[in-house]
Symmetry: C2
Subunit: 407 residues, 2 copies
Amino acid sequence: MDSMEVIRGMSMKKVIVLGGDGFCGWPTSLHLSKIGWDVTIVDNLSRRKIDIDLECESLTPVRPIMERLSAWEANGGKRIDYHNFDIARDYDRLLALICELKPDAIVHFAEQRAAPYSMKNSRTKRYTVDNNLNATHNVLCAIVESGVDVHLAHLGTMGVYGYGTAGFKIPEGYLKVKMCGDHVELHENSNGNVEIEKEILYPPDPGSIYHMTKTQDALFFYYYNKNNGVRITDLHQGVVWGTNTDETNLDEKLINRFDYDGDYGTVLNRFLMQAAIGHPLTVHGAGGQTRAFIHIRDTVKCIELALENEPNRGDRVRIFNQMTETHTVKELAEKVSSMTGTEIMFMDNPRNEAEENELHVENSCFLDLGLKPTTLSDGLMEEVIEISKKYSSRCDESKILAKSKWR
Amino acid sequence: MDSMEVIRGMSMKKVIVLGGDGFCGWPTSLHLSKIGWDVTIVDNLSRRKIDIDLECESLTPVRPIMERLSAWEANGGKRIDYHNFDIARDYDRLLALICELKPDAIVHFAEQRAAPYSMKNSRTKRYTVDNNLNATHNVLCAIVESGVDVHLAHLGTMGVYGYGTAGFKIPEGYLKVKMCGDHVELHENSNGNVEIEKEILYPPDPGSIYHMTKTQDALFFYYYNKNNGVRITDLHQGVVWGTNTDETNLDEKLINRFDYDGDYGTVLNRFLMQAAIGHPLTVHGAGGQTRAFIHIRDTVKCIELALENEPNRGDRVRIFNQMTETHTVKELAEKVSSMTGTEIMFMDNPRNEAEENELHVENSCFLDLGLKPTTLSDGLMEEVIEISKKYSSRCDESKILAKSKWR
């Protein structure tokens, strides 16, 4: 199905992108606009403001939101409306916007999304909890109060599963279990015990305050879906790498943000940037941690697929694993090292986690919907290195190391 | 073990009771003070303020907090300190208090605790989420930041389990399961599938916004226990009935609150009050809902037992079911009706729940610690009816019916 078919089929469906100025939200907004959605962005620009407090900024020169949006129109894009307010605090504006627009879908990226930032200190812990939980709850509450039949797509994380099930393939959100316990009356076996088969939400095992809020989000979704029939897709995303998409590549004013600092930089992007400026690749611990990855181009494609294949009224919360491959941190470092000749530096792990873990992930939902994964071998690592080199004069090397201790 | 032994053994251990002015918090504070704890109450009096908005008040004439506390001293009780601030908002005062007092334990009752109130409207939903989640997180965050090795005892609810496991005995917090799925490498059986045995937090199934916040609290506890070693006891309490305890009976100025309204009144107390004033007993639906119950005297005893048998450093979150018996709503109504001759009125159920359910609950933890349950047959129902009759002139009959629709 090409873009024009989508446009014809959808007759300008409306979507609100909450957090549409951020690293995933911005390219998603442009991509949805490109393929025919009428996009409205809500963003309180909190990510840019956190940069100010961290005395850090995107390696790429991100333009102010209105300049970005004008550039999108100047490059032939459809107009995208923008509202600056805090959905965790300004419920009435959120409700009014939903009532006015009657969107078909809301994409919810409006959470504090860095685990290391969430672990920096008491203030960032409390901000992450207060912001993320109230934001998610306000969206659900406003959808119900508005009476509009909105499909909510939420960006979650693979991290909700924890990393403890060696050799076991992580399913997409739900797990079949046999509950073992004392049965009172029926079906007793010879031990007086019984097993009942059930499908449950995968037992969560968060590793940071940030991940914890995502496991709590899952209970908001479970409840509002069960009690009010809200249609929800929760995307358990891997670690994102890459910077630009077809749309953000159109004009430098559309460039996506690129975080390289110890709080917000994701591991592969940090390695590629370190290689570009000749800084040793900093591996936490022995690097035996296995993580799931996805390229930013696949992130935007997955959101497109999730919106075009919305759940029906009455369906339970739909959970997709939004990742395309898994690697150990050490493997990634070795790959970047062999591409670039940069040395690897092993450091004490600031995180409270197992030294190594296996990770096998089911991701057939998106593959069945037609996702063609953009994997590490596709030359996109070179593109990230080029971006890093191009903007290396903007790099503050003192911000590279992760300083947030998780214990 | 009598009270004097406890005092000798404990040498005035210190406890902060968060929400110590409420229905459970007040008698608990007096009881802990009586048996030798040095008690400090923190309460922002939110429960009294909600009554003002609901244009409703306790059937019993509850005195202002300082008058209550003076009466406790006048009746021979030890001095109880009191602080009026909001733990969900005023983190710095909470942290300072913990750092200053270095309490051995904190009992956390400081949450909005009525399911019907949490379902009244968008505002009460959002208040319940914002208050309960930030309150619980602030307590945990402050314990960690203070560096004090505090045992946190939290009042939760049986409602986190949901009511869906017919015939299955609900365990105390944790459930043994066999996880069924695709195993990647090891232990494959003939189908290529595998089962891994694990003990998990009982899969939550909240029935209201209030209950949802308690399931989210469980994830706060899980995380802070795992990452920071915070010692936590979570008490999954049944529906409380009764009014007074030995301590609140000492003086009318010490009387406990008694809620009879559709939002805050619990079912058995509402029936007993309805009987006392000759109002039909209002049963929601056919009354087939089975619930777990506990008398307020056993609530305070359970908190005593939980504090005196604290978990060790390194123990996982300890979860006790704090209930002593189960009954269907219809059984309760019939019991009260036969005691008093009051008729039963069946009404449409405003809640979104199964018409009937079985409920079998494991509660051996408290029984093993020495709890002697105060059950329905002990004549305490008569006591509640006497209280209801004595203060019947304070009853506003227009507040009796539950008006909060859950869909």
